[in-house]
Symmetry: C2
């Protein structure tokens, strides 16, 4: 099944794909999503498909280098989340900025100390995550805060797929301005989905709507203001965003909170 989230006059609302159209649901990931019979207007703006409180990224998680290092993770600010067609803001002062196609795990319920036996029970579904990274900042700031948290640095979407086959062999593409820039596969990840869940929840609690970004096996590309970015993953559709200059970001901070679709 496919779940998306749309902007409405009553705040963000979930919807489910029904053959040919989106149908509104009542509820939240944490509770229960039930159809309410109302169609989503085709003009409705799609939001990020969840509103994570916590976003975890996997560091150095591509083969072959990741094989020789212990798994390692980092946090991203949940204020970096944007949806399809929302702007990614790039500040030229921070050097090269990459977009990265990553498989994003969407957590469905409270998850802590997961084991191989129960880890996948905590997963609500999967979506496309773009782990935007100001790559040159990683040497300035080894804690990665400066590299990972610009405005619009975590596009998510377009929808959450709950019945995805073989999450560990999905092809991932990056297109910039309509041209394929790179390709990778989740099969090239050093720590696959289940290992990511086990590692992260050994150290912290996750909850409904939280995200683990699985890492980037080659599926990245440098971008500049004016670029159009399209990320694709098998079975998850595509996630498109435009890159803007961060000069526009400071003056639109209020608007950004609205784009984000937070309920708070």
């Amino acid at each position: 099944m496919r779940f998306a989230r749309f902007s409405t006059h009553n705040g963000p609302r979930f919807a489910e794909w029904q053959n040919s159209h989106w149908q509104f649901l009542d509820g939240e990931i944490a509770t229960r999503l039930t159809p309410n019979g109302e169609r989503v207007p085709t003009t409705a703006r799609m939001l990020a498909p969840c509103d994570p409180r916590v976003i975890v990224g996997m560091a150095h998680n591509a083969l072959p280098e990741g094989r020789f290092l212990p798994p390692q993770a980092f946090l991203k600010s949940s204020r970096t989340v944007i949806g399809p067609e929302d702007p990614i803001f790039v500040n030229p002062d921070l050097g090269t900025v990459n977009v990265e196609t990553e498989l994003a795990i969407v957590i469905g319920r409270a998850a802590r100390n997961l084991t191989r036996a129960n880890a996948l029970d905590s997963v609500f579904g999967y979506t496309i995550g773009n782990d935007v990274t100001a790559a040159d900042q990683a040497s300035e700031d080894t804690l990665l805060l400066q590299a990972k948290n610009g405005d619009g640095y975590t596009p998510l979407g377009p929808w959450i797929e709950t019945s995805l086959n073989s999450v560990d062999a999905l092809t991932m593409h990056v297109f910039v301005n309509g041209v394929k820039a790179s390709t990778g596969s989740t099969s090239e990840l050093a720590n696959l989905v289940i290992d990511q869940l086990i590692h992260v929840t050994r150290y912290l609690s996750l909850g409904p709507g939280d995200i683990i970004l699985g890492g980037c096996p080659g599926s990245f590309a440098a971008v500049l203001p004016g670029d159009r970015v399209r990320l694709e993953i098998d079975g998850l559709g595509y996630l498109q965003n435009s890159v803007h200059s961060a000069a526009a970001s400071a003056s639109s901070s209020t608007a950004k909170e609205d784009h984000h679709g937070s309920q708070r």
Copy 2:
């Protein structure tokens, strides 16, 4: 003025201190807090005084070592937030765990690229923050995710003070089981409040209720399950929590979400 947050049947609600008692307010930090004439029952449970979406900690921010390093910050999971008297969970497998008394800046409105001229306008107030840290994990995981994000690792409270004098010369104490373990002062911070705001918002957006933990100039102590911890800062009262074994944490994950007082 002093603002606190209490658990009620209708969810968390803000209150203001009026000479001798707490008075409920309508609204949120982001909007406007207005008295509604209702007294907070003396039996009401106090929550963390805000519900941050983003928590930033300052790394190596004590003198003299901090003076010779560029300012550096890290993120903590907002799911680590607890209030007064909520349990801190310590997992003995992770080595030494320290509690740290830190001045916590509570952000009042959207804040990005702050300058010396406007940084303090973004501050709603200040509270006591306990940046609990599994210190031995910092060498295992240089990104600090493993050190900083255990359950109950960010006690906040008891209240937010909005008219604090001289935030850059406040004495901070740690008491463990009634005995003073250590003392420091915000005057010993390498980057003072205004510099923390400028540094952090150069790289990311903060919003209402978000927290910057200013760092720990010696005001820390190692703790073990069974310990009672009391943190004090001039003008901010004291923040008390008990330390529990993390074995109890896994089985009470649902209860913890309630302690946290999140509205989401």
